[in-house]
């Protein structure tokens, strides 16, 4: 167990290092320095600026400086706005984290409930409706869903106010982020519930007269949820990438929108900082998921 955790943490650190190498050297491979596109600057000013930002040093050394600053919590400044990247990121991340967090919780709760319902009413009407709905949802890209919701509830029906500085309505963005993972969790829960329902210990519990809800809650659900845990890492990845488009559609000033804006503005340092930040979150999420799975499922450690 300890061996596994150490190995897994090692892989996570290696992944982060590789991502930082790809981002840093990739961004530096783009032709044109950060001060080329500005208004005509005299060579002296340019040289001073380059010296100020260590751009005159060899690239490997620049990477070393960048990583050292990163470890001290200094993410650098945006090329376009001149603002501190960490300031911008931490502010906007709070909004994104709230949005994503609500979406994750809702999709898990609803997904598990619908999955149970579907498994218990197998091949009956509720199950068929749920299967139809989830199949449709997994074929719908988040940006299509978000735009449709925006059109229907904000523009046509006017039920929900469009996101603005005054009104923060999380409903529609959360729905558009949560539906796809919810559909996936529903399917996952259903198959694993059906699997567990066929086990001998469930039959034994039923035979000795344990109440139906107790069989489901104590004997079935607890075991059926183990595979669902593994989905958490993938889900966080989905929510992060989904939030890039959803935040843009609903014009929410979260990290996703900042990231997309920095791509359209070609704000290279900001792209670098945000990618690295999001990647670190993802790698940590995957790490926690893997370790949690090992802890929960005792069968794996025995093998």
């Amino acid at each position: 167990m300890n061996n596994y955790v150490i190995k897994r943490i090692g892989l996570a650190i290696l992944t982060i290092v590789i991502i930082s190498i790809i981002t840093f050297f990739g961004m530096n491979a783009i032709p044109g320095g950060p001060f080329d596109s500005e208004k005509a600057t005299s060579p002296e000013v340019k040289a001073t600026l380059e010296k100020r930002y260590n751009l005159d040093k060899p690239i490997v050394q620049q990477y070393g400086i960048y990583m050292k600053n990163l470890l001290h919590g200094d993410w650098g400044v945006s090329v376009k706005t001149g603002r501190d990247i960490w300031d911008t990121m931490s502010k906007s991340f709070m909004i994104s984290a709230k949005l994503g967090g609500i979406a994750i919780i809702i999709s898990f709760i609803l997904g598990i409930i619908l999955g149970c319902l579907s498994a218990l009413t197998r091949n009956k009407l509720p199950d068929r409706l749920i299967v139809f709905f989830t199949t449709l949802m997994t074929a719908m890209p988040s940006f299509v869903l978000a735009t449709l919701l925006l059109y229907l509830f904000c523009i046509q029906l006017g039920w929900v106010a469009v996101w603005s500085a005054k009104s923060h309505s999380y409903i529609l963005p959360v729905i558009s982020l949560a539906l796809y993972p919810m559909a996936y969790i529903t399917r996952l829960t259903k198959t694993s519930m059906l699997d567990v329902l066929g086990q001998d210990y469930v039959r034994t519990a039923k035979a000795k007269g344990v109440a139906q809800w107790k069989v489901i809650y104590k004997h079935t659900l607890r075991n059926a949820l183990i595979p669902v845990i593994t989905y958490l890492g993938t889900q966080i990845a989905y929510i992060i990438t989904g939030s890039l488009v959803v935040e843009n559609i609903f014009t929410i000033g979260g990290l996703g929108q900042k990231f997309v804006n920095s791509i359209t503005n070609r704000d290279y340092t900001m792209i670098m900082g945000t990618t690295l930040f999001l990647a670190i979150i993802l790698v940590i999420a995957n790490l926690i998921t893997d370790i949690a799975y090992k802890i929960v499922d005792a069968r794996i450690t025995l093998e």
Binding site: T23, P141, F143, L148, R266, V283
Partner: protein, 357 residues
Amino acid sequence: MFNENRILKKNILSAQVDLSKFDFATEEEKRQQDVMSESTTFFRDGMRRLRKNPLAMGSIVVFIILVSVIFIAPMVVPYRYSEIISVEGVRDKSAKNLRPFEYSKMEKKYMEKGGKVFPHIFGTDEMSRDYFIRVVYGTRVSLGVGSFASIIVLIIGLIYGSVSGYAGGKTDLIMMRVVDIIYSLPDLLMIILLSVILGDVLGDKIQGSIFSKLGANMLSLFIVFGLLYWVSMARLVRGQILSIKSNDYVLASKAIGTPARKIIRIHILPNCLSVIIISIALQFPSAIFTESYLSFLGLGVQAPMPSLGSLANAARSGLASYPYKLFFPAVTIVLIVLAFNLLGDGLRDAFDPKLKK
């Protein structure tokens, strides 16, 4: 020594089965043992099961209709995807944002004079281009990206996975560590990042070459697919090969001195074909998803070439007035992805029921 049925007489002390106690089978009894159904191949058996699956067959029909529309429509419709509508050689500025099957003022005048105008089935866009043909070309681009990306993934994954699985030992260990690392990279983030980088790096270099029509973004999308998306295919192929490798016929083939490449090609790959086909069918929609996602972020195909994602993105600005412009590409994406998901599930159930989780 023999009795009347020409069966060896039993020695009284022997423990042998007494054959004289058995009867010969009658003709009727013999016939019961006949195999009535024709012998079937693995492929035919799978196809029979697939044909019984209405969802999978429905998806095949939808897919065939889509493909025939995108091939026939450009021949029937006289407009081109980048063409601004003109009447008698004059640019028709009144043909902006027409509703489906609506004609512009100039077109109406022309029709009164007796001229024929092909109807705008989906209307026109804000630059007076026929929207139907744009959606058709967008579908073409999206399907093309899906199939090309799947082919790249297939080739790299297949070669890498089979080498790693067949070689085994230290080679396998090192090759799989590489796969593990690529697998743990957040793929969409890396795709966005690499698209930005490659788009800018390649932008100038491909000017004038055959790739320039494709656009730097598209090219970088394929490169990124080739760099990142093959890992799950490689893992799958390796796993299959590891289990097939231990079969006796592979050992026999090795014993008579067949070279490794031939063993992989003749004995091993055909046996993991079903798994590969299924995973390609499921890879396809994910490639289309990724392409539309990137187009939506402005990292997809180069204007004026449309893709379903970029059409949906462009439709966002006039959403309140022209919602149907979002509707058409959105429905097409959902149809394609739905068809492939259902077909992939159907193929899996028909050819490899073990894979079903």
